[in-house]
Symmetry: C2
Subunit: 346 residues, 2 copies
């Protein structure tokens, strides 16, 4: 069974090797008598003949493979996206070759080069940097690309994003309804589309509710990590400008903020409310259970893969799909402390 060769299939089917090769390749199948092709396919399946994809790639320029670049698999956001990607690809007989770019531009370039030389049919890119030279180069070469959970400055890549603006608007409405007025923002990295969009939505909400813009209450994280969240919240405390709620750029930043509050014995949510973004697995099991914006992780991946397959198969035009989000209200948000009892004597 395993290890059957083209010649074995030809012998068994009573045809020439070249006929087998043409029959098994969808691109050339029409050049073989339909009945013969059907018999060859049946024989190949029965003998367990495994098409040598590397050989086929040289002939048809299609490998049924796409490269999926993930910035940080240890962020629980991404394994769920990958699951969606894989399920969509599998229906089309495609396989994702996943690599972890570690949010590192050099590593991302190497990985794209490695996958390009393996002739993947397209790329799904979930890494976040906007100024992305490697991405620019592959779209220039005409390789289909879909970016996931980010927009692209490049008009030749499609994108699937969550509705960042709506998410932050919902968060701000929730905090204002609780009575918060001094709301801080731990902004995501400035070179990411999510970092930019969420900050912009935060500022728009301040205007909407007539709240003062206080630049001391906005700190930019250098990365979407727990450690960066801790550093940012320490910086906020050091600045000494009172706040009763923190809107974190994502859940990992929120976790870091909670760590920094704990080390300063500032109880959440009694003194300071904290909100995240993404709703990673385990967010509801944390202490306190995290109020956050649920991003449709699986759907981001599944839709991204569908868009990419459309581009590969039918040259479908570039598009951007925005998926809706949901505010998950849990235990890390509460009304601000009474005047005079709060942080900084607020």
């Amino acid at each position: 069974m395993a290890g059957a060769k083209l010649a074995d299939v030809a012998l068994e089917a009573g045809v020439h090797v070249g006929t087998v090769s043409r029959a098994l390749n969808p691109a050339t199948r029409s050049r073989v008598n339909a009945e013969t092709a059907a018999r060859i396919i049946e024989v190949a399946q029965r003998l367990g003949y495994e098409v040598n994809i590397t050989g086929r790639a040289l002939r048809t320029q299609r490998t049924q493979t796409v490269g999926a670049l993930i910035p940080d698999l240890t962020n629980p956001l991404f394994p769920r996206i990958v699951r969606g990607v894989e399920d969509s690809l599998e229906k089309a007989g495609y396989t994702a070759l996943i690599t972890n770019t570690d949010n590192d531009a050099q590593r991302e370039r190497r990985m794209i080069a490695a996958l390009t030389s393996r002739q993947v049919d397209g790329f799904l890119i979930a890494s976040a940097r906007l100024d992305d030279q490697a991405l620019k180069e592959i779209t220039e070469e005409g390789v289909p690309v879909v970016v996931i959970n980010r927009t692209s400055a490049d008009a030749r890549a499609s994108a699937v994003i969550a509705d960042d603006s709506q998410g932050i608007a919902d968060v701000m409405a929730h905090l204002v309804a609780l009575g918060h007025e001094r709301i801080a923002h731990l902004a995501g990295p400035g070179d990411t589309s999510t970092g930019q969009a969420r900050l912009k939505a935060f500022e728009a909400a301040l205007d909407r509710y007539g709240l003062q813009h206080r630049s001391e209450l906005v700190v930019r994280a250098e990365a979407y990590t727990i450690a960066a969240g801790t550093r940012c919240l320490r910086e906020l405390l050091k600045r000494g400008n009172p706040f009763t709620a923190v809107v974190a750029g994502n859940d990992l930043l929120a976790l870091g903020a909670l760590d920094a509050l704990k080390e300063n014995r500032i109880p959440c949510p009694e003194r300071v409310s904290v909100v995240g973004f993404n709703d990673i697995d385990f967010a509801e099991r944390l202490s306190p259970a995290l109020t956050t914006v649920r991003v449709p992780k699986y759907e981001l991946g599944a839709r991204g893969a569908e868009l990419l397959l459309d581009m590969i198969y039918s040259g479908r035009e570039i598009s951007t799909v925005t998926l809706p989000v949901t505010l998950m209200i849990r235990d890390s948000t509460a009304p601000p402390p009474l005047p005079g009892t709060g942080l900084f004597g607020l």
Copy 2:
């Protein structure tokens, strides 16, 4: 720069295309004058020539790629293992092509076939099933394989495992020292090496401490998932045989057990202590913070990749490496309730 062809390199270096090809391939480089080869490599680098790996694979049978089969990327154990794998591979110029097998034997076979036809140089397999026909086939074909976080019934695969026996022994010593005597076990799936090893260690510890073997206090999970943990703990409660502590086969089973306790208003750790295995990210941030056995996740991956590279490059013989584990005592374990106050009126 990008897109330079073999012919461009040949023109610039003033040599034939065949000479460029031989010089750029480590396997044939010695057939080119050393000075010429050095010049060609310099030119190729300067022009940004990208070796077509698919073409090369046909010639040298080495792709600098390994397939990494992960059973469930959404289990936070595995992204950390992948990180270790990638760091070790990268030092050797190798790339991991990661696929998610979803603990599904069919899908695993398809993925192995897909990666084999792309001529990966070897496999790292972290999927858990012991009776693994696909694994058997690839080792029979002489493809180097290292299994991670599991042993293999196949003598032709190397393995890197955590010390399951020591981990459970430490857990049992901790629980017995707290005063527990009626200890239940949510065993991992019976067709996994971790499930088998941890159950065996659990039973050995009962003997060591002179505790009675109670078959009603052992429930087998059908999968390493939160949902399975919940089902198992409900089953334990239904059986009505008193227990004051639960040793879960891994952290996800422990999380499921905590859910089932909560839905039955049984406080942890006041009435029932719960222990996990692996120490996944976020285990210490849960409510209650989970007592668990820390498995050296990154090292499992890093050592596994090193073993595989050894097998690929030097045909190093098969070996099994066992890495030490550490008991992390947190808030989900405490002394059993006082007699007469506990669950089932214990």
